[in-house]
């Protein structure tokens, strides 16, 4: 019994060390998403270049990546090249443009043409991975999605359900995990369309 007591501090020390050591490798930005397995929140946002209103229903049918980005965000610009490669491989990527708050006190006001020019220039320079971009001027969908900053990427399935929430950039190191999920969704979609065709 006394011997056992003698080992308790040692065991506690080891447990504490393991706990703290594992903490060294955890990413403080990853604290789980509240939106996984839930439907994409309802929205009606204009397409950035044409101004055409799009809703969550319009985007359904195929799985896609919803990428939150802005020309003001360096990490987003850095990932444009890799995302463009993914688009060339057939990945469907839709952009959700993050407009930073404007301070009227400093004479800042929203200027759509300037923004469109800026986006065109940036995409011509770095590559254009997007089918189209949604413009979220008031950050309403961005807020409903629990976005904490840019870039963030959501994987949405063909029914409009959120299947993954990735914080930070997508790069060749972290893409394989998302790619596997995306591929699984593609085969799922193919199976359901085939079923529907067979039923006819």
């Amino acid at each position: 019994m006394r011997k056992l007591m003698f080992f308790i501090p040692f065991v506690l020390f080891i447990a504490m060390s393991v706990f703290l050591f594992s903490g060294l490798f955890s990413d403080p930005r990853q604290h789980g998403s509240a939106l996984l397995q839930r439907d994409l929140p309802a929205f009606a946002l204009p397409e950035l270049m044409t101004g055409q209103r799009k809703t969550a229903e319009d985007l359904r049918g195929q799985p896609y990546l919803l990428n939150v980005w802005g020309t003001w965000c360096p990490t987003c610009n850095a990932e444009l090249g890799f995302l463009t490669e993914l688009r060339q491989q057939g990945v469907r990527i839709i952009g959700l443009y993050y407009v930073q708050p404007l301070d009227a006190a400093f004479g800042e006001s929203f200027n759509l043409t300037a923004l469109q020019d800026d986006v065109r220039r940036k995409l011509a320079e770095q590559g254009d991975p997007y089918q189209f971009n949604l413009l979220d001027e008031k950050r309403s969908l961005i807020f409903d999605l629990g976005v904490t900053g840019a870039p963030e990427t959501f994987l949405i399935d063909q029914h409009g359900k959120i299947r993954a929430h990735h914080v930070g950039d997508i790069n060749p190191q972290n893409w394989p995990a998302l790619a596997a999920q995306y591929q699984a969704l593609l085969t799922e979609t193919a199976a359901t369309t085939k079923e529907a065709a067979d039923a006819k």
Binding site: G32, A34, Q100, P101, F143, D144, T148
Partner: protein
């Protein structure tokens, strides 16, 4: 002669001055956020109190360990604004918290929920305190016990005393003491 500023006695004074300057700086820095909040108009003092309480309890999801009242990250500004709107609409504390948790998860509230994964936060301190008390009382007992009954040691000591103080003892008394006889 020593210069006026090199004396050792000035060091505590210097540190006190530095502390005062630091405190002034801190209060000065916290002024802008208060000023920004004063621009918001509330329908009642209760709503204002609720807004203050919520912005202090809601955690900024972007920055490490700041509440949304303290942070000026875009997401914190948006959350403050949303909190203000919801409070203005007459929603109560729980409704606003649920609204935020639905979007940003449990992480966003500084009060963690009681779950199997978080139960340790309450159990561990209680267990630690209990084990400390148990340890303390047990130690008390084990320390007290030998003092009460040591018949063996007592008789041994008595034997030595008898031997030394016995008249005609062959043994010499301990060094450094004068012989009473």
């Amino acid at each position: 002669m020593q210069s006026k500023f090199s004396g050792r006695w000035l060091t505590p004074l210097h540190s006190a001055l530095l502390l005062c300057a630091g405190l002034l700086l801190c209060t000065g820095l916290s002024l802008p956020s208060q000023a920004a909040e004063e621009l918001l108009q509330f329908q009642s003092a209760q709503q204002q109190a609720l807004f203050r309480e919520l912005t202090a309890e809601l955690r900024c999801p972007k920055c490490q360990n700041q509440n949304i009242a303290d942070s000026n990250a875009v997401v914190a500004v948006d959350m403050r604004q949303k909190t203000y709107q919801l409070v203005q609409q007459g929603q109560n504390k729980q409704q606003v918290l649920d609204y935020m948790k639905q979007r940003y998860g449990e992480f966003v509230h500084y009060q963690p929920p009681v779950q199997w994964s978080t139960i340790w936060l309450w159990l561990l301190p209680a267990a630690l305190l209990t084990s400390m008390f148990v340890f303390m009382f047990r130690k008390d007992k084990t320390n007290a016990a030998p003092q009460l009954q040591q018949p063996q040691l007592d008789s041994e000591l008595q034997a030595i005393i008898d031997e030394v103080s016995a008249p005609g003892s062959t043994q010499s008394p301990p060094q450094g003491r004068s012989n009473p006889s």
